[in-house]
């Protein structure tokens, strides 16, 4: 097995896969969105609880592969407490970081995201990692 693959399935990923964070009921749901990856059957449900423009709580429930589940779990930790605008720009940066579309200094991103960097060597798996983020973006762009 290649080192690249070892990098992708780091312990942090596996920990988030085995014990995904923040899949729970919210006091109230202000935005919600579902995402599907038809290729492998990944499914993610995202809910946001807001106080004005601040995300006070988030629920991310994933049924899917290790990469998608871990990505959603890591995302849920990162987004809680951010404003809607900060969240949108975070999502933009993470998408660019994962796809390599734009140069992003990893130092500008939360350190837990480094665990997902291994996926960049596996183009077909990038969309697994992206699914929670693109789904969050859809939720946030809803009026």
């Amino acid at each position: 097995m290649t080192t690249q693959l070892d990098n992708m399935y780091r312990d942090l990923i596996l920990d988030h896969y085995e014990h995904p964070r923040n899949c729970h009921e919210l006091n109230h749901t202000d935005r919600t969105e579902e995402g599907f990856n038809p290729l492998c059957g990944d499914h993610v449900n995202i809910q946001f609880e807001q106080d004005g423009r601040t995300i006070t709580d988030i629920s991310v429930c994933t049924k899917g592969c290790a990469i998608c589940t871990a990505s959603g779990s890591i995302m849920s930790d990162i987004l809680k407490g951010l404003s809607v605008d900060e969240t949108k720009s975070m999502v933009e940066n993470v998408k660019a970081f994962l796809t390599g579309d734009r140069d992003i200094d990893p130092a500008d991103l939360p350190s837990s995201l480094q665990a997902l960097s291994g996926v960049r060597k596996f183009p077909i798996r990038i969309k697994c990692a992206l699914l929670p983020w693109t789904t969050a973006e859809l939720a946030l762009n809803k009026k």
């Binding site: 097995m1 290649t2 992708m8 399935y9 492998c40 059957g41 899917g64």
Partner: protein
């Protein structure tokens, strides 16, 4: 026959397949998705393009006559392969999906009315499911889905028998499930359908690569297959239809090559099968399937079946012994070299990524059969599929790959 004897029987066949020679160390276990091509098939296509190429059914020059003769010779060869009464029963399409869409969009469209029923099975590939679901929705008809027995993982024949009524217009059934490999009793399916005057549509895509097929034994109304699953080129498929249906069906697509006479006001159409073959077809595709059938029959489909079943049985035994692998098959039978499984606690897509990294090619996902995967309470599955060119070494590689997966996921 002992295990070794069966597996050795097709030794050397790998050398006929350039992709396998060009990727030493590759364990190609995804033949149920598409097969690799032997040199003879590639040579037949190459020879056609280099020496005989011209459009068919048009030119009066000798090259076009030769091309037409090769194309029609393929039709005769495929007709003989499935024991069709006449080559004219065969319509050439792009694949099984197009073949079935053709039936749904022509005779399906004209026969199905509001309140009618269409019976399909839960085992269908989306190719033999979605066209019928959509036709039923469009017409206000009912789509009845027949399940499988959860113990044997075979089609529930009793449920099928009670699903078919005098309102049933079509019974659409796979001849071999692309997920489970299971092969329904098609003679019984046809008998039940005929009792109520329903037409049968069989998806033979996963069946014909592994078994001799004699359609006179069950007389389907329609039957579809794809060349690429049996060593032929991708993009070439076949629809068999009974003569009386083909004669009365409206065309599927209109345009070149399917007309008798065109005036500004109206068009009259050619006779079947040309009526259903609008536009320049994949001529080399037909030639490729002709050559592939020769190759397969020369080796012998029975031998191929024995070989692949033995490999799948060996893999089944070794994976079972690992304890953490759940295999989805009837304990007594492996069909069509297909082995569906999951690794406990690891998503199939992660398994396939780790295997892929070790040059082991398997399919992971819903296998274009989402209703079946949901019926079995799964999100996705891994499928290893064996064919004539696989070896015992491929089985060892698969087992080592699963072992590695368990290590990576600390299982």
């Amino acid at each position: 026959m002992n295990t070794k004897g069966v597996i050795d029987m097709l030794e050397g066949v790998q050398n006929d397949f350039p992709v396998l020679k060009n990727h030493p160390g590759l364990a190609y276990l995804d033949s149920a998705a598409s097969t690799q091509k032997p040199s003879v098939v590639l040579d037949a296509m190459d020879h056609f393009y280099r020496f005989n190429y011209a459009n068919i059914h048009r030119g009066v020059y000798s090259l076009s006559e030769q091309a037409t003769a090769s194309y029609e010779a393929a039709r005769m060869r495929i007709a003989r392969f499935i024991h069709a009464k006449s080559p004219e029963n065969l319509v050439f399409t792009r694949n099984t999906t197009e073949s079935i869409n053709l039936v749904a969009a022509t005779i399906g469209e004209s026969m199905v009315r509001e309140g009618d029923e269409i019976v399909v099975t839960i085992m269908e590939h989306h190719a033999n499911f979605v066209p019928w679901q959509q036709l039923a929705l469009k017409k206000g008809a009912t789509l009845k889905v027949v399940g499988i027995d959860r113990e044997t993982l075979e089609l529930d024949m009793a449920e099928l028998a009670s699903a078919i009524t005098d309102k049933t217009r079509f019974v659409c059934c796979t001849m071999a499930s692309n997920v489970l490999g299971a092969t329904p009793n098609v003679a019984e399916v046809t008998r039940l359908a005929r009792k109520f005057g329903a037409l049968t549509v069989f998806d033979a895509a996963q069946f014909v690569p592994h078994h001799p097929l004699d359609i006179t034994s069950f007389e389907p109304d329609f039957l579809a297959l794809s060349g690429h699953k049996m060593l032929g080129a991708d993009g070439f498929g076949v629809l068999y239809g009974k003569s009386e249906h083909l004669a009365s069906m409206p065309p599927f697509m209109t345009g070149g090559d399917m007309i008798e006479n065109v005036t500004i006001e109206k068009t009259t159409y050619s006779q079947p099968p040309q009526k259903f073959e609008a536009g320049t077809p994949f001529i080399a595709g037909a030639i490729s399937l002709h050559s592939a059938i020769d190759y397969l029959e020369n080796i012998g489909l029975d031998r191929i079946q024995e070989h692949e079943t033995e490999l799948a049985r060996l893999a089944d035994e070794k994976l079972r012994a690992m304890g953490k692998v759940r295999l989805y098959r009837n304990a007594n039978r492996i069909h069509n070299g297909i082995l569906p499984f999951n690794v406990e606690g690891v998503h199939p897509h992660d398994v396939a990524t780790i295997l892929g990294d070790m040059d082991i090619c398997v399919r992971a996902g819903h296998h274009c059969a989402q209703p079946l995967i949901h019926f079995m309470d799964e999100i996705a599955m891994i499928r290893a599929s064996f064919y004539l060119y696989n070896t015992e070494e491929d089985v060892e590689r698969l087992v080592a790959g699963i072992q590695k997966t368990l290590e990576v996921f600390h299982k």
